[in-house]
């Protein structure tokens, strides 16, 4: 069961993502609670099933609930998901098989599964993407359904410090990537760009521009 390519890697991915899925379940609940008054009880769940990208869904729901236009909500959400374009390019060499299978597995690539599946040599383990992705997807959709159904019982998730769970998780995912000096510079640059643009640019733009810090890889380190 431990041979490469066996079912071991699915279970491995599922186990690696378990601590993240607890936070994602809570985040899904808070999305359900936030979205229900303006979006009703079915649309938020359908959005979690189809979009499966937390920050974009939050942005869309909060813009609609604060009286923003449909166009503003859609543009913000798409900008927040624009990073999945280059992220998709980075996992593409590791995803083999027919196009529909690559397409379906690509839907399970989110920040957490992307970082957890990295093999440290620039590749991504497709079985970890699927194992971790299925668990995280279930947590996200289940959390949304729970939030829509009986989120009122739990009150504000910020009270539980859940909003600090995400930067902490991203930090835990970031640190293994800092093994080279060029990577450390790219990280500092990315964080600096993101902070500098947050006060002046619409949601989503800072993260996309921060991703451009990777262009420093044009030159050999």
């Amino acid at each position: 069961m431990d041979e490469p390519g066996g079912s071991y890697s699915f279970a491995h991915g599922a186990r690696k993502v378990a601590p993240f899925s607890i936070a994602v379940f809570g985040f899904g609940m808070s999305f359900g609670v936030l979205a229900r008054p303006t979006m009703g009880s079915v649309a938020p769940i359908v959005m979690s099933v189809t979009t499966f990208a937390g920050s974009a869904q939050f942005a869309a729901a909060s813009i609609l609930s604060s009286g923003g236009t449909l166009a503003a909500a859609v543009v913000a959400a798409i900008l927040l998901n624009a990073r999945y374009g280059p992220i998709g390019v980075s996992v593409a060499p590791s995803l083999t098989g027919p196009w529909w299978s690559r397409f379906l597995r690509a839907q399970l690539v989110v920040d957490e599964t992307w970082a957890l599946s990295a093999d440290g040599r620039g590749g991504h383990d497709p079985k970890v993407i699927v194992g971790a992705g299925v668990v995280l997807y279930a947590a996200w959709v289940g959390g949304t359904a729970a939030g829509v159904s009986f989120g009122d019982l739990f009150g504000d998730p910020a009270r539980l410090g859940l909003d600090a769970a995400f930067p902490a998780l991203f930090l835990a995912l970031l640190v293994p990537n800092l093994d080279r000096s060029q990577a450390r510079v790219a990280a500092l640059l990315g964080a600096g760009i993101a902070l500098a643009l947050t006060p002046i640019a619409p949601a989503g733009v800072p993260i996309v521009v921060a991703g451009l810090a990777c262009l420093m890889g044009w030159k050999r380190s």
Partner: protein
């Protein structure tokens, strides 16, 4: 007319289709083929750049502003936990407990 499909459902449909297309594009168009070395080097730096940006924004960002609040304490404590090689679940718990504790105290 607009009563037929509410803005919420339009948002669900448009954002859903766009996200599925964005996520699928790379693997469908380029799947299974190695990237040229230079593109590989650039894409290899995408993880540190994007993850660091996500840490920064989710620690200090709010709606179009930077703030220093209880989250920074929680993430600082999480950084200590990461430096001590704590498992991810403990890192999350430390961040949440310190942040919630600070909110209760101050």
């Amino acid at each position: 007319m607009e009563a037929l499909v509410s803005p919420a459902w339009w948002a669900v449909a448009i954002v859903g289709v766009a996200t599925i297309a964005i996520k699928g594009a790379g693997p469908v168009l380029l799947g299974g083929k190695p990237l040229p070395p230079r593109i590989g080097r650039i894409i290899g730096l995408l993880a540190p750049a994007l993850l660091a940006a996500l840490v920064a924004i989710s620690t200090f960002g709010t709606d179009r502003a930077l703030v220093l609040d209880e989250r920074a304490l929680g993430v600082g404590a999480a950084a200590v936990a990461v430096a001590l090689k704590a498992p991810p679940l403990l890192v999350v718990i430390v961040a949440a407990v310190v942040t919630a504790g600070a909110r209760t105290l101050f």
